[in-house]
Symmetry: C2
Subunit: 261 residues, 2 copies
């Protein structure tokens, strides 16, 4: 299995604190030593850092921990391989261009018998995760108009996610830079930080941050992760089947939690 | 204008020496301060580092200079913006997936009036370079079979490159990881290093390397760059219209130099 980390914020924000916590699980406090990756949107561009080395000892991860790359949307993944070798091509997140936007995807789970429908998007590596992503992109391209509004898109994404989750474990993060779609098949949690900001202590490293010192009163920053990353904050735990569409740090659509989408 | 740097080698080789020379031109010995990027193939995967900051002062460039990422094929670009803002989405190299491979492209030149033919690959940013790359990918996808051999591919690429070069300045590097296609519209040079290896001195920094200390006798490493990067080696200068297809450090097809392709 793997661990996911996503961020949605209304102002460019660095991910150093959360990333520091997550990367400890890549070979130190957790067994996810088979590579890691992170994608930061900057406008429509994406900075993608990938490394098949354990995040806890990767020089590139050290750079990302210490160099505050500011982004409104970011997706991060640390890997414990089950399907596919440990190599760069099998390292999440995966990126494809559609309608002139970079779409970024990371997956936690396993769909051992998944077969994708044919289409122009093809996997480069040999993970089930990238195969599902290509299937998703082919089907979005096929069924949605390029000017689909986020809510129409979310309804389609939720349907596809439910279909994938029926075939295995499918927790995912997906973004085109404007929004962040999150789906929980088994495990996902979120927290939204806004004024008045307090302090927080990482669960996986002896690191504390005082958010009030690094934010302005209007900032809204949400973190979505496989498991809560801090010990002294109240995280919301997703229900199995629940999805949320985030934008600018806020939930703009949600469903699968018993309420109507 | 911009500067290009490519590498083709028969064994995974780091680009630190050449990259150190090139990045000096990104704000120090040269005016190419509007961002830089480099793509390293590792198997079918690609490590892509992009930064809209000047390479001479970029923390990510410092990492790439000092962390020996070993690759058989790499493409690097430093930018002096003419078309398009200075932003991440406009930073070369550009990547698209086709037939389950990552295709990487960087361009030096300008095609101010270029219009692409419609097709599924679309630019994310607003440079002429990325627009041409998308046109190229759409047309390759349309006219070539997915199992096209490198020579058939090279003939098509050379035809397309000639067509682009007729509309402006078009020096380019393109790879799918197996081969490196290089086209010279105005300026490109190459050097192939093989046993017996000697020493070399960078033109742009006070750095010397003794290649014999870092190679084995079977290594073949070719560097392709806008201008020679060293002062004490004999570089081959491309003729306008000349193209070379490199693989494993060797030229496997060439044309446009007066000989038959």
């Amino acid at each position: 299995m793997c661990e996911l980390l996503g961020m949605s914020a209304n102002t460019p924000t660095d991910l150093c604190f959360s990333f520091t916590g997550l990367t400890q699980r890549g070979g130190n406090t957790g067994p996810h030593k088979d590579g890691w990756g992170v994608a930061f949107y900057e406008g429509k561009g994406v900075r993608l850092f990938l490394d098949p080395q354990p995040s806890v000892s990767s020089p590139v991860a050290e750079l990302v921990q210490n160099y505050p790359i500011k982004s409104k949307t970011a997706i991060c993944h640390i890997r414990q391989a089950n399907v596919g070798d440990i190599c760069l091509a099998n390292t999440h997140p995966f990126v494809r261009e559609l309608w002139g936007r970079n779409w970024v995807f990371a997956h936690n789970g396993q769909l051992p018998h998944f077969t994708r429908q044919p289409g122009p998007y093809e996997p480069v590596g040999d993970t089930d995760s990238e195969t599902i992503f290509c299937d998703l992109m082919n089907r979005i391209h096929h069924v949605l108009p390029r000017d689909a509004m986020p809510h129409q898109l979310a309804a389609t994404l939720a349907e596809l996610a439910e279909e994938y989750a029926a075939q295995g474990v499918f927790n995912c993060l997906l973004s085109n830079g404007d929004w962040l779609f999150t789906y929980c098949s088994t495990k996902l949690a979120s927290i939204t930080r806004r004024a008045p900001f307090g302090a927080a202590q990482l669960k996986d490293a002896d690191v504390t941050v005082d958010f009030s010192a690094v934010t302005t009163p209007n900032d809204v920053v949400s973190i979505i992760a496989t498991e809560p990353l801090t010990t002294d904050e109240q995280w919301d735990i997703y229900q199995p089947g629940e999805w949320k569409l985030w934008s600018q740090g806020e939930v703009i659509a949600h469903g699968g939690d018993g309420s109507r989408a």
